[in-house]
C-alpha cells in the first residue's frame, strides 16, 4: 500500500477527531450527536494507522486495494450518520407539531389579544397637566 494515502488518511481522521472534540468542548455539538461522529473518527484513524486491519478487511469483503476499503468504511459511516439525522429531524418535526398545537390551544384559551385603549383629547393629555413642563428632554 502506498504510504502517501496512509499519511493522508491519518491526517484526515485526526483532523476530524480534533474538530469534533473542539465542537463538543464549545457546546456547539451535543454529546448525543457527537458519539456517532467520534466513533467514525476513531475507527477511521485506527484503520489508517493499522494497515494490517485494513488489509484483512479488504481481503474479507473482496476489495483489491486496501485504501479503497478505507473509503468503503467512511462511506458506510456517512450513510449511517445521514440516517441518524433523518431520525433526529423526524423527532424534531413531531415535537414542533405538538408544541404548535399546544400554543394554539393555549392562545385560544387566553382569549382575544390585548388592544390599545382609546382616549379622548389629544397627545398633550398623555401626561398629567402638572408634569407637562417638566418632561426631561434628550439634551438634558
Amino acid at each position: 500500500m502506498d504510504v502517501r494515502i496512509q499519511i493522508v488518511g491519518i491526517i484526515g481522521a485526526a483532523l476530524l477527531l480534533l474538530v469534533i472534540l473542539e465542537l463538543v468542548r464549545r457546546r456547539r455539538l451535543l454529546e448525543r450527536y457527537a458519539l456517532l461522529w467520534l466513533l467514525a473518527g476513531v475507527v477511521l484513524l485506527g484503520l489508517a494507522v493499522w494497515r494490517g486491519a485494513l488489509e484483512v478487511l479488504a481481503e474479507l469483503v473482496g476489495i483489491a486495494s486496501p485504501p479503497n476499503a478505507l473509503f468503503f468504511v467512511a462511506f458506510g459511516f456517512v450513510l449511517v450518520l445521514l440516517l441518524h439525522f433523518s431520525v433526529a429531524v423526524s423527532r424534531l418535526t413531531d415535537q414542533s407539531k405538538v408544541l404548535a398545537q399546544r400554543v394554539a390551544l393555549l392562545e385560544e384559551r387566553a382569549g382575544p389579544p390585548h388592544t390599545a385603549r382609546r382616549r379622548d383629547g389629544d397627545d398633550a393629555d398623555l401626561v398629567a397637566v402638572d408634569d407637562r413642563e417638566g418632561v426631561p428632554s434628550a439634551s438634558a
Binding site: R91, Q95, K97, A100, V103, L105, E108
Partner: protein, 247 residues
C-alpha cells in the same frame, strides 16, 4: 332518555376566506347543538377574523401544520373539553352541514366513527377520473386490510365518538391522514360506518392536493398504509415509552 351529548364541529381551514363564513353560518343553522371550532392552519388571508365574526371559536397554530396536524388540534380540543362527539367538516364548503344529521343517525352504540361517502351510490360524484381512480385504489386496498367495505377513505366529512377522539388526539397521521386513520381505527378495534352524502365542488380556495402533488399523495399514502400494517401498536399505551421525547 339519556342526557343530550355534547358535540363539537371542527373546521380545518387554510386560506378559505371565500367560504368560511358560509360554512360556519350553515353549521350554526343546521347543527345548533354543535360548538364550532375553526382551525386556521396558518392562513395568510382573513380566515380567522371572518370565522370569529361568524361566531366560531378559532384556534390558530403558529405555522402551517398541514391537514393532519390541524385536525389533530381539534381532537385535542375535543378531548380536553370533554366532548362526546366531534364532527369534522371541511372549510372549503364541499361538505353540507345539513347532512350532519345523517352522520349522527348512523352513530349508533358500537360505532366509533361515521364517514360521509360519495361512492356508496354509484355515479353521483363527478371528479376527474384520475382522482376517482386513486380513491378507488385506496378503497379497494383498505377494504381488504380492514375486512369491511370502505368506499370513500379520503372523505374528510366525519363524525367521531369519545373513543375515536381519544385515539386521534394521541396519534393522528401527519400529511394526508384520512386513509391511514381508517386503518388505525381498525387496529384499535374501533368500528367505522359509512353513510351516503353529497359533496359540492369547492366553493373557493384551492385543494391541498394539486395535480402535481397527486402522485406524491398516492405514493405517500400507500407507504403509510403498508408501514401502518407492519406497525403493531401505533398508539402509546400508558407506561410505554413516550412517542415524542427529548432524550
Amino acid at each position: 332518555m339519556p342526557p343530550a351529548r355534547t358535540a363539537l364541529a371542527v373546521v380545518p381551514a387554510y386560506n378559505e376566506a371565500a367560504t368560511i363564513t358560509g360554512v360556519v353560518d350553515a353549521l350554526r343553522r343546521s347543527a345548533p347543538g354543535f360548538d364550532v371550532l375553526v382551525i386556521d392552519d396558518g392562513s395568510t388571508d382573513d380566515t380567522s377574523q371572518l370565522a370569529r365574526a361568524a361566531g366560531a371559536r378559532v384556534v390558530r397554530p403558529p405555522f402551517n401544520l398541514g391537514i393532519g396536524g390541524a385536525v389533530q388540534t381539534g381532537f385535542v380540543f375535543a378531548r380536553d373539553g370533554g366532548y362526546d362527539l366531534m364532527a369534522q367538516v371541511d372549510g372549503d364548503g364541499q361538505h353540507d352541514p345539513a347532512e350532519l344529521g345523517k352522520l349522527l343517525a348512523a352513530m349508533e352504540p358500537g360505532v366509533d366513527m361515521v364517514c360521509g361517502s360519495r361512492f356508496l351510490v354509484r355515479g353521483e360524484y363527478l371528479a376527474p377520473v384520475s382522482r376517482r381512480a386513486g380513491i378507488h385504489v385506496f378503497a379497494w386496498l383498505l377494504s381488504r386490510f380492514v375486512g369491511q367495505q370502505v368506499t370513500d377513505p379520503t372523505s374528510g366529512f366525519r363524525l367521531y365518538n369519545r373513543r375515536a377522539i381519544r385515539l386521534f388526539a394521541d396519534d393522528y397521521p401527519h400529511d394526508y391522514p384520512e386513509v391511514e386513520a381508517v386503518l388505525m381505527l381498525h387496529h384499535h378495534r374501533l368500528r367505522m360506518r359509512e353513510v351516503t352524502v353529497r359533496m359540492f365542488q369547492r366553493g373557493g380556495g384551492s385543494s391541498s392536493i394539486t395535480s402535481g402533488k397527486s402522485l406524491y399523495y398516492m405514493v405517500k399514502v400507500l407507504l403509510a398504509l403498508f408501514v401502518a400494517l407492519a406497525r403493531k401498536r401505533p398508539v402509546v399505551e400508558p407506561g410505554d415509552r413516550a412517542p415524542v421525547a427529548a432524550g
